[in-house]
């Protein structure tokens, strides 16, 4: 109130009122974005510039690093491989988790609580513990170096996660809907696909987002289970260590390209993220 009388002219500039919160958020976002900024800048520089001079932005802008990746099959197949097993994993996880989450949200049955916790423990299992047995298991059944092997391995932590998130969403759907549908003569599968699934569509979206996220970022298992044919992009990146040292420009460009799919996904689900987190089930 008092500044109204003291300094009225300053208001005329239309400056946004800067307060403490804005400063805190500004600093935090700066901290988050600075390393990413540096990665992007590196990807647009030549190796000579990276190593010989220290510049805050590229002096000779070059897209050669990106061209190298997008024209070399051994590079871009890495992206296709990663995409392939991430999508497979999402489909498998959702397909098995939907009925299970329904059962947990609607019925009580023998051992349900223990089963639920046991499922969750698999989300808590360190991938390092499973790396070696997975390697042996999938080798022995001839699945080593296939997309499906990585997709199945990621089910270890993604299926429990999917059940957990979906159960939260399904609990919010009133039970009366089920009962009405049964009275109307719907069979369970028809009810589930026609009526129930559309009702929890946003939940499925949020779940798919987290399934994508955890499968996309994981490297230890996907690297252990693949050698050539299904090698994920993240593992391909270690290739840049050549005879002449590390090819920093290409490495940075590959890094930038791995961020793009995630950024796109975030953009599409931005309005649901908060809700997904609100359920507190990640």
């Amino acid at each position: 109130m008092s500044d109204l009388t003291q300094s009225p002219p300053k208001r005329g500039f239309g400056l946004p009122s800067v307060n403490g919160s804005a400063i805190v958020m500004g600093l935090y976002l700066l901290f988050l974005l600075l390393p990413i900024y540096w990665l992007v800048m590196m990807s647009l520089k030549t190796n000579t510039e990276i190593l010989n001079s220290f510049t805050l932005w590229p002096q000779n802008l070059t897209f050669d690093n990106y061209l190298t990746i997008l024209t070399d099959a051994s590079w871009y197949t890495g992206y296709l491989n990663s995409m392939a097993y991430v999508v497979m994993n999402m489909v498998i996880s959702l397909a098995v988790a939907l009925p299970a989450a329904y059962a947990f949200s609607r019925y009580s049955f023998m051992g349900d609580k223990h089963l639920f916790f046991w499922l969750l423990t698999n989300r808590m299992a360190p991938p390092a513990v499973f790396a070696l047995p997975f390697f042996q298991l999938y080798s022995s059944v001839g699945l080593f170096d296939t997309h499906i092997a990585v997709a199945l391995a990621h089910c270890l932590f993604n299926v429990p996660l999917a059940v957990w998130i979906l159960e939260g969403f399904m609990r919010g759907v009133p039970k009366e809907i089920d009962e009405t549908a049964y009275i109307d003569g719907y069979s369970f599968p028809r009810f589930f696909i026609k009526i129930f699934t559309p009702l929890v569509a946003s939940g499925i979206g949020v779940t798919a987002f987290f399934l994508f996220m955890f499968s996309w970022v994981e490297l230890l298992l996907s690297r252990t289970l693949t050698s050539v044919d299904a090698k994920p992009i993240a593992a391909t990146m270690t290739r840049t260590v050549g005879a002449s040292g590390i090819d920093w420009g290409v490495l940075a460009a590959a890094g930038v390209l791995t961020i793009v799919p995630g950024a796109l996904v975030i953009y599409f689900v931005r309005n649901y993220i908060a809700k997904g987190f609100a359920l507190g089930r990640v």
Binding site: M25, Y28, R106, P127, W216, G255
Partner: protein
């Protein structure tokens, strides 16, 4: 909600059970199998009893890795939880800026973990990195490949960079669910900012916060890729955490017996702590009247 008793619900869970049995139980049994056997190669195994467990419990290497791991996880929790809450309290409530903050903050969460390592490697190097170069220009001796303190700081700052947003987003979601009436009541009572936080906001976000702590504990306790890329566990063994040590043992040296025994103890520790958290969480849930 009252649930109907229905034993047939088991059939709906069957696919999950089969899948998880294939991807968790069978591999885990392999680990148990290795942990009690010894081998001379050629796939000839014989019973070794609890020998490997005794060896691992006596080994300094494991205790050192465990010690580093616990210190690391505690530091991570001590920084990320308060910082995450602080950031969440300062986030815009709605509109364009809120969306922008949400999107930008989610970004680090969706970067593959080894790329997170690569980003910090590029960012921190003294010769080519913005951070390393700036610190060197300021006359601060910083080289994370040689100095173990610098390596630790780098790994911790990297994890804060990577995961604080998760805590912040969870806390933010919790804060969003507080009805306006609470704040109005506080205003009438002329409660201070601190009191509003202590008696309104904190109790309301406690549930989500427990999940944040549980997730951050679990994931930091299993951390592998990021420090592996940045420091490779070094200098020396300074940043060799449990998973790094385990992978070194199992896939590097093929010491199956000790590695398996190690795995089982590692898993049990995580399970035990998680069970405690889970129990506290479900009790909180019940108290809130779910």
């Amino acid at each position: 909600m009252n649930k109907t008793v229905n034993q047939k619900a088991w059939f709906l869970i069957l696919p999950v059970l089969v899948l998880v049995a294939f991807s968790a139980v069978i591999p885990l049994m392999t680990v148990v199998n290795y942990s009690v056997q010894d081998t001379f190669g050629n796939n000839q195994f014989f019973w070794a009893g609890l020998e490997w467990f005794e060896e691992m419990l006596a080994s300094e290497r494991m205790w050192d890795a465990l010690g580093r791991q616990i210190v690391f996880s505690l530091i991570i929790l001590a920084i990320e939880i308060p910082l995450g809450i602080f950031v969440a309290l300062n986030m815009p409530k709605k509109g364009f800026w809120a969306s922008l903050c949400l999107v930008l903050m989610s970004l680090p969460l969706l970067i593959p973990w080894n790329v997170v390592g690569t980003i910090w490697q590029i960012f921190g190097r003294v010769d080519i990195g913005l951070l390393g170069h700036t610190l060197a220009a300021l006359g601060i001796d910083y080289n994370y490949t040689q100095d173990s303190t610098a390596a630790w700081i780098t790994v911790i700052v990297m994890d804060v960079w990577h995961w604080t947003s998760l805590v912040a987003l969870l806390a933010y979601a919790g804060l969003q669910s507080i009805p306006d009436a609470y704040y109005q009541a506080a205003k009438i009572d002329q409660a201070s900012r601190w009191k509003v936080f202590r008696f309104i906001e904190l109790p309301k976000i406690m549930g989500v916060l427990m999940i944040a702590i549980l997730l951050r504990f679990m994931d930091s306790f299993m951390i592998y890729t990021e420090p592996f890329v940045v420091t490779g566990g070094g200098p020396g063994n300074a940043t060799t955490f449990l998973s790094i040590d385990l992978v070194k043992m199992a896939l590097g040296q093929f010491d199956l017996g000790p590695a398996a025994a190690f795995s089982i103890m590692y898993y049990l520790v995580i399970l035990l702590v998680s069970y405690v958290f889970y129990t506290v969480m479900t009790n909180l849930d019940k108290r809130d009247g779910h």
